[in-house]
């Protein structure tokens, strides 16, 4: 057991405290003032007013945030209403949508990456288009998705919409935004397969399919996984924007709804939750990535 240096624990803690302190300084606080004045009839009445003061008046302070967020954290899976659920429940809804969009991104992106890596002609044909589409923001893709899937309506047994235009548009947006790192990394990985391995395939006269599955895929797997990890990060970024725009229940939808409802503390709760989940996803993927790196 190696000894843990106290710095390793203390410094991050210090950083956290500094951030919290800064937040506490700029955040506003509620001030209740009682004034006594003439009510116009000659009677003196006491008026109690609550106002907010501070550098950023409406920014809730850390303690206020904690008080307001407590019900969502203490009961993370409670469901009080469509847009009033525990934080884990919202996260779960978002994660489900991300998983679907991400799966589509991988299923489309990996073969495109392979084609780009294998064929010079294919690269020359499509590389310019990819380079142009790649930096487009999710906010721009979503309306196009809406147009693409306009009128789509899959009903469940009770006649309610189970999968509608906005769901399809959401998946479309996540998939198309998350696809690019997978596409590019797979292409790089396939191009980086050492000629030696391909020579082995040639000398043994492996068929094209066998070369693909026995040589190309295993050899480019480490690169592909880097792409997968980056893609997952983007998919999680996109989900928030998508949910905000289409108003789906989920962590991003919750954030936007709470902004409109003036519950600013919940915005901070949402941001922190999004950050923590994104971090956890990234860690999980890099653990998987490491496993393949050693191969």
């Amino acid at each position: 057991m190696k000894s843990i240096k106290p710095e390793l624990m203390l410094l991050p803690l210090l950083g956290l405290l500094l951030c919290l302190g800064g937040w506490a300084i700029i955040s506003g606080k509620s001030v209740t003032k009682s004034t006594t004045k003439d009510d116009g009839w000659g009677d003196m009445i006491t008026v109690t007013e609550t106002t907010r003061e501070g550098i950023s008046k409406n920014l809730p302070s850390p303690t206020e945030t904690w008080t307001a967020s407590k019900p969502y954290i203490v009961e993370p899976v409670a469901k009080r209403g469509e847009l009033d659920q525990g934080i884990l429940r919202f996260a779960w809804l978002s994660l489900k949508l991300v998983a679907q969009g991400y799966a589509i991104a991988l299923l489309i992106g990996t073969p495109i990456g392979f084609l780009l890596g294998l064929s010079k002609k294919f690269t020359m044909m499509f590389d310019p288009i990819i380079q142009i589409l790649r930096p487009v923001s999710p906010l721009a893709w979503l309306p196009l998705g809406m147009v693409l899937f306009m009128g789509l309506r899959v009903e469940d047994a009770d006649g309610r919409v189970a999968f509608g235009t906005s769901d399809a548009a959401a998946l479309f947006t996540i998939a198309i935004c998350a696809m690019w790192p997978t596409v590019l990394n797979t292409a790089v990985g396939v191009r980086a397969v050492p000629q030696d391995y391909l020579n082995v395939a040639k000398v043994l006269k492996l068929s094209r399919t066998k070369t693909l599955f026995k040589i190309l895929i295993p050899a480019s797997l480490p690169y592909m996984f880097t792409g997968f990890r980056l893609s997952l990060g983007i998919a999680w970024l996109v989900i928030v924007a998508v949910e905000m725009l289409i108003g789906k229940p989920g962590i991003g939808g919750f954030l936007w709804q709470q902004y409109n409802a003036n519950s600013y503390a919940h915005i901070i709760l949402s941001i922190l939750t999004i950050g923590v989940i994104g971090y956890v996803l990234d860690r999980l993927m890099s653990v998987a990535e490491k496993r393949f790196k050693t191969a």
Partner: protein, 306 residues
């Protein structure tokens, strides 16, 4: 004498304007153990790649069993200098890949048996479940030899198979491969840059002589030392010493003839590699500018033309 299984006639190869091989003639018969020796960078690998079918000769013809070589094939098994093992497969799986591909008609257990047989032949049975990363260089090259032999090649091509190994491991492996040949009598074409190795393993040693117009094969030197050859006794015999002397003299002589008269100068690009020992600043603003060679001192590195 029977028809040769491998026949090169007037093979030349150049890369753009660089002439690598010129008018190479070679015939190898069934059961031969031929060694080709030459300087590094003199075109040895080009020659073996032409025989393996990975490169096309610019002129001349390469024939295997009387029909022209048009591409790589398992009947010409090649052991590469850098082993070329698939790093994600175990020793067994690497060999099995070749067995599965060449003998699809055998049952799974027969193929497993064949795989185990060749792993045993190179004395790697205890390491059968290991992946290449866990093996030493010598062990990796044994796996490569086992994989190539398991494909039952008509001719075994070895492209400087041992030059990445230390001298002692190299000696052991030379003896082992020679033993394997003794048992199987597979035809072997062994390319090397080590005169001792060439003489110790082969029946015929052919020097690859460098020249300005491209390298070509010199007169072959037959090695009549009795087999099995015991390294310790043989390297002390006058016969061995004579062979080695004549081989080295031929090669040195050719090198002197081909030596360039002028010294070329290599212009070095005006940028220096980043020093990885320097801590990278995370700030975007005070990144150091690339280090320029011209700001240090002009440097020209004279090189000898090959």
């Amino acid at each position: 004498m029977s028809t040769p299984i491998l026949q090169l006639t007037g093979v030349s190869r150049s890369f753009d304007s660089l002439k690598v091989l010129r008018d190479v003639n070679l015939s190898v018969h069934e059961g031969d153990f031929v060694s080709i020796i030459g300087y590094s960078g003199s075109g040895k690998s080009t020659l073996i790649n032409i025989i393996a079918g990975l490169l096309k000769p610019t002129r001349g013809s390469a024939e295997m069993n009387g029909s022209p070589i048009t591409g790589p094939g398992p009947e010409r098994g090649i052991v590469f200098q850098n082993y070329s093992l698939l790093p994600w497969l175990t020793v067994t799986e690497n060999v099995r890949l070749a067995v599965d591909q060449i003998f699809p008609e055998l049952s799974a257990s027969e193929r497993a048996e064949r795989t185990a047989h060749y792993i045993h032949m190179v004395k790697l049975t205890p390491a059968a479940k290991k992946i290449p990363r866990e093996l030493s260089g010598g062990m990796r090259q044994r796996v490569a030899v086992a994989r190539t032999l398991a494909a039952n090649p008509r001719i075994l091509l070895l492209d400087e198979p041992l030059s990445a190994l230390d001298a002692l491991t190299r000696a052991t492996l030379q003896d082992e491969i020679a033993d394997i040949w003794q048992q199987n009598r597979t035809t072997v074409l062994w390319i090397t840059n080590d005169p001792d190795e060439a003489i110790l393993v082969a029946d015929r040693v052919i020097p690859l002589l460098p020249s300005q117009e491209g390298a070509t094969l010199g007169a072959e030197i037959p090695v009549t030392l009795p087999r099995p050859r015991d390294r310790k006794t043989i390297i002390a015999t006058p016969e061995f010493k004579d062979l080695k002397l004549s081989l080295v003299t031929t090669l040195l002589h050719a090198k002197k003839d081909s030596a360039p008269t002028l010294t070329k100068k290599l212009a070095v690009p005006d940028i220096l590699p980043e020093d990885l020992n320097d801590r990278r600043t995370s700030s975007l603003f005070d990144r150091p500018a690339p280090r320029r060679r011209s700001q240090l001192a002009k440097e020209e590195i004279p090189i000898e033309a090959p």
